[in-house]
């Protein structure tokens, strides 16, 4: 062992962190090298001086002062905080809901629509109301009035004339039992023009904009 190697081991030797082989080698070097021996002695005495330093005693009122100041001080916010929202499951669920809605919505729309029935499903025949006669408008109940209809549901026993019965039937909402059938027709842009359809029917072409 040379002097440089020996002096590198001073710290580990002082901390008692060297192996037995290293210690023996160092001792052998000290026996042969007085300079390194003196260096290690000085090193050891310097560090021993540190251990002889008296402990600095804390101020007697340190606990009370620390408590008093701590009471006046608000705690710092928790840096760890609440658990973050797991965005991946939330996003996946939202995507699934969106896909499911997309798949189901056409079925829901066709089910509610009175005009487009799915093949194989027959619609119960709806009794078409007859045209009311002028006498109906005077308060006589319609021959086609069905129990549970709007006018009937509002009628009370003992009341002879239902006030709603006088309202023209066309003012009621018939969206559920009226079919809209679009005849094929040709719409042209431009000014309205008279169009002859078939032989005797004549009308004015209209442009409908939604």
């Amino acid at each position: 062992m040379i002097c440089v190697q020996a002096r590198r081991l001073f710290g580990a030797c002082w901390d008692d962190e060297i192996t037995q082989a290293e210690r023996e080698s160092l001792e052998a070097h000290f026996a042969a090298c007085a300079s390194c021996r003196e260096e290690y002695d000085a090193y050891s005495r310097a560090l021993e001086l540190l251990t002889t330093l008296p402990r600095v005693e804390p101020a007697p009122d340190l606990v009370e002062r620390a408590l008093a100041r701590s009471r006046r001080t608000a705690p710092a916010p928790d840096r760890v905080g609440a658990r973050a929202v797991p965005w991946v499951p939330v996003t996946a669920t939202a995507a699934l809901v969106a896909v499911a809605f997309t798949l189901v919505s056409p079925w829901l729309m066709t089910r509610n629509s009175p005009i487009a029935l799915r093949p194989g499903i027959t619609q119960a025949p709806v009794a078409q109301p007859e045209l009311r006669q002028p006498s109906d408008l005077a308060g006589a109940p319609s021959k086609t009035a069905v129990p549970g209809a709007r006018g009937a549901s509002l009628s009370r026993p003992g009341v002879a004339a239902d006030p709603l019965a006088a309202v023209p039937d066309s003012l009621f909402d018939h969206s559920e039992d009226v079919e809209f059938v679009l005849d094929p027709m040709t719409l042209h842009r431009g000014r309205p023009a008279n169009v002859r359809v078939g032989g005797s029917v004549q009308g004015q072409q209209a442009t409908i904009t939604f």
Binding site: G11, T52, V56, P58, A66, T73, R79
Partner: protein, 187 residues
């Protein structure tokens, strides 16, 4: 610490009593300033209280408290360097140099009666002249007796760096104390 985190005042007082000696000693040895050590020790415990909910359960409590103390001591050293630098650039260079400041004569300007007290005062001043980054590691290891791994956690540096800093600090201290070693050996 779990009780301190839920605002248990008695637990906090117990924590202060448990660590006040080591914290005051650490700061006092690093700064070589008893009065300032008392104030900074109080500040350490206030910060422990303020940040009590940020303490990671499972971490060693003493390491956490020492980390706060070491950071406050470092801040104080830097504040003093800045203040000294305001008046004298030479003073800053002297402070940062590990060899520029020579150990003062322990009897010079001081009326001390016991040689032991002189020696201790001289050792304290010698420690205070070691550059900050070496000084903290030295005090934590050779005065407070922390393990190298704990010092690495407290200072936030790798274990190898801790060892090299401590070795360097010890060598510096030996050089500074060389004139006193004969006296120390005879006393």
């Amino acid at each position: 610490m779990a009780r301190v985190a839920v605002d248990d005042e008695r637990a906090f007082a117990e924590l202060v009593r448990r660590f006040q000696g080591r914290v005051t000693n650490l700061i006092s040895r690093v700064l070589n300033d008893r009065e300032c050590a008392d104030d900074l020790a109080q500040e350490v415990f206030v910060r422990v209280f303020v940040h009590r909910r940020n303490y990671r359960h499972g971490a060693k409590l003493s390491t956490w408290v020492f980390t706060i103390a070491a950071n406050l001591a470092k801040n104080e050293i830097r504040r003093r360097v800045r203040r000294r630098n305001w008046f004298s650039l030479d003073a800053l260079q002297e402070l940062l140099s590990d060899s520029a400041i020579q150990l003062a004569d322990p009897t010079e300007g001081r009326e001390v009666t016991l040689e032991r007290e002189q020696l201790q005062g001289a050792v304290g001043r010698a420690i205070a002249t070691v550059p900050e980054k070496y000084r903290l590691a030295l005090v934590l290891r050779d005065i407070e007796g922390l393990a190298y791994e704990e010092i690495a956690t407290v200072l936030g540096i790798p274990g190898g760096t801790v060892r090299s800093r401590i070795n360097r600090a010890r060598s510096m201290l030996k050089r500074k104390l060389q004139p006193l070693l004969g006296r120390a050996g005879t006393s």
